[in-house]
């Protein structure tokens, strides 16, 4: 750690009145205090509060008598929760896979001394400026079987072409993957591109001297050295997937039925539409624990590697 310039040190070198010095030592804490207090109450306090609610039988109104694990038992006996979990697995897995694969491909392609690189890059990235609600609304229209993409292909002469994932139970979650990947790929591309630009050329030149071709150089030198970018992309994408709520609400509304529910839409539905506060709190706690279970070991293993 670099030596910090604390108010107390400054007081030693600066002959001033005691009151002023005192103010200068206290001031930084006074300035930072409200934010820390907010974090303490509205993040950590509220997590404990939600945890407590998840151990009660709260329904339309919060109650605070301890009831043990009833809500968790109810949660895991609920088919809809299992569908939400399964969908999270499908959506999260495919969403991360597509974003990483296409993002890396685009970054490598853009890294070939391309004319108008900046222009192309801003095309790939603009969806990130949109709300997931806008993205969902647009793709809902594009993917609708009546007049959307299916209709277009049929007009082109393929009269029996069907593409109705968005209204088909069991398939609608894949429609969410399409829209989600469309929105977030550009971001991953930008991260990879920054990573590619940061690679030390001397190792690559050494490999060329040894006669390695471009494919070999990408496969065994460049891509492995992007490991930290993979790592941060994975965390960000995993995080987006677990929190995904808006996109499903706008694209499918969780439907047909509740076939494209995710934990976030499940939580919203039960806590705020069905007045099952306890069950909603339990599902929120499960979401938090999923984030913790994924992110903590990843950060731990990565810092151990680096250290």
């Amino acid at each position: 750690m670099t030596p910090s310039v604390a108010g107390a040190d400054a007081a030693l070198v600066r002959p001033r009145k005691h009151l002023a010095d005192y103010v200068e030592t206290v001031l930084p804490k006074v300035v930072l205090g409200p934010t820390l207090l907010c974090g303490l109450i509205f993040v950590y306090g509220f997590i404990l509060w939600t945890a407590w609610l998840s151990f009660t039988e709260s329904r339309i109104l919060p109650r605070y008598d301890f009831a043990g694990l009833v809500q968790y038992v109810a949660l895991f006996a609920n088919d809809r929760w299992w569908i939400a979990l399964k969908n999270l697995g499908i959506f999260g897995g495919l969403f991360i896979l597509f974003c990483l694969a296409i993002g890396l491909l685009l970054a490598i392609l853009l890294d070939q001394r391309i004319r108008a690189e900046g222009f192309l890059r801003s095309i790939y990235l603009y969806p990130m400026a949109l709300s997931f609600i806008v993205t969902g609304t647009a793709w809902r229209w594009i993917l609708n079987p009546g007049l959307g993409f299916e209709h277009l292909v049929r007009q082109l002469g393929f009269e029996h072409f069907t593409f109705d994932w968005i209204v088909t139970p069991g398939m609608s979650i894949y429609a969410v993957v399409i829209a989600g990947a469309w929105q977030s790929t550009g971001f991953v591309m930008a991260l990879f591109l920054a990573g590619l630009r940061g690679i030390d050329d001397s190792i690559i030149k050494a490999a060329q001297v040894d006669g390695a071709g471009p494919v070999r150089i990408y496969a065994s030198i460049i891509i492995p050295s992007l490991r930290p970018v993979f790592f941060s992309s994975l965390i960000i994408l995993g995080h987006i997937a677990i929190k995904s709520f808006d996109l499903v609400m706008a694209l499918t509304g969780g439907g047909p039925g509740f076939s494209s529910d995710l934990p976030a839409t499940f939580m919203y539905t039960f806590a705020f539409n069905r007045n099952q506060i306890g069950l909603g709190a339990a599902s929120a706690m499960m979401m938090l624990m999923t984030v913790v279970a994924i992110i903590v070991p990843m950060i731990y293993s990565e810092t151990r590697r680096r250290g």
Partner: protein, 293 residues
């Protein structure tokens, strides 16, 4: 041949380069397609939509859908278009961005120039707050907003967005101020400059780039938010994202895709505009938010 592993515009690489450009252009068309479809659909009449197809240009350009989306489309039981919700969004996004940026700047200043025992640990604790799924705070926050008397109100939304934006704004400013040479502030202190003097005279004049990054990030995040909007507001107090979703889901008779698309573009315009004029800073915010030290 500085970097021969990158394809060159000579010899056998010419084919490879043609393939690279083709792929890049195809992807660009794919990414632009939804925007193109949104715009053309919003300019079509319903007849035009039914008789044409997704990628066909409008036969006659009509702004009726835009007029309806702005002023008279139904979002639930209320039929006054999105204009009220657009104004709602403006009225809470602007204060929330300003307040959270200002507090973030001061926090970053303290965390780099006025560190005290435990400040780094407290900051780490704060940062973890960025990672929680917000579902875990919704129920307590709903109750708290009620107690504070700001449930379903613009001040309530400002409050929520400031509270959960602070970790990010603090992070932005902290990471920026770390790069400011400490000699600058040390010298000022020896000259007797105090906490606020150093901030106004030395730190703030250095800050415009990070202020732009932070403002753009916060603006995009808060404008595009749906979760807090749908949980903490109702009726005509709702932000535009929630109203857009209601508009699309309000089915009264014929589904008016042109109105849906016009509404979606209206909701997207402010952030798209910011992206077009300040894309560089937008990207910087994204990567700064993503790659933490």
């Amino acid at each position: 041949m500085a970097e021969p592993y990158r394809t060159q515009a000579v010899g056998p690489h010419l084919v490879a380069r043609a393939a690279v450009y083709t792929l890049l252009i195809l992807f660009a068309l794919y990414y632009l397609m939804p925007l193109f479809v949104m715009i053309t659909t919003s300019l079509k009449s319903l007849d035009d939509i039914r008789s044409g197809n997704l990628v066909a240009l409008p036969r006659a350009v009509s702004l009726d859908a835009w007029v309806k989306a702005w002023g008279s489309a139904c979002t639930g039981v209320f039929c006054g278009g999105l204009k009220g919700n657009f104004m709602n969004s403006v009225s809470f996004v602007v204060p929330a961005v300003v307040i959270s940026t200002l507090i973030g700047a001061f926090n970053g200043y303290v965390l780099t120039m006025w560190r005290f025992k435990g400040s780094d640990a407290l900051f780490t604790l704060l940062l973890i707050g960025c990672f929680i799924p917000f579902q875990v705070v919704l129920l307590p926050m709903a109750q708290t907003l009620g107690w504070l008397g700001i449930a379903n109100s613009i001040p309530g939304l400002i409050f929520v967005h400031v509270v959960y934006g602070l970790a990010f704004t603090t992070l932005f400013f902290r990471n920026f101020y770390v790069t400011v040479p400490s000699e600058l502030t040390k010298a000022a202190r020896i000259d007797g400059a105090g906490f606020f003097t150093i901030f106004w005279r030395i730190i703030l004049p250095l800050s415009p780039p990070i202020i732009v990054v932070c403002v753009i990030w916060q603006f995009t995040q808060i404008w595009n938010d749906f979760l807090f909007g749908v949980v903490f507001s109702s009726g005509q107090r709702q932000p535009i994202t929630v109203a857009l979703n209601n508009l699309v889901n309000t089915t009264t008779g014929v589904k008016e895709y042109n109105v849906d698309m016009a509404a979606a573009i209206i909701a997207a315009l402010p952030t798209l505009f910011v992206y077009v004029v300040a894309g560089k800073y937008f990207l910087r915010g994204l990567t700064a938010g993503a790659v933490k030290g």
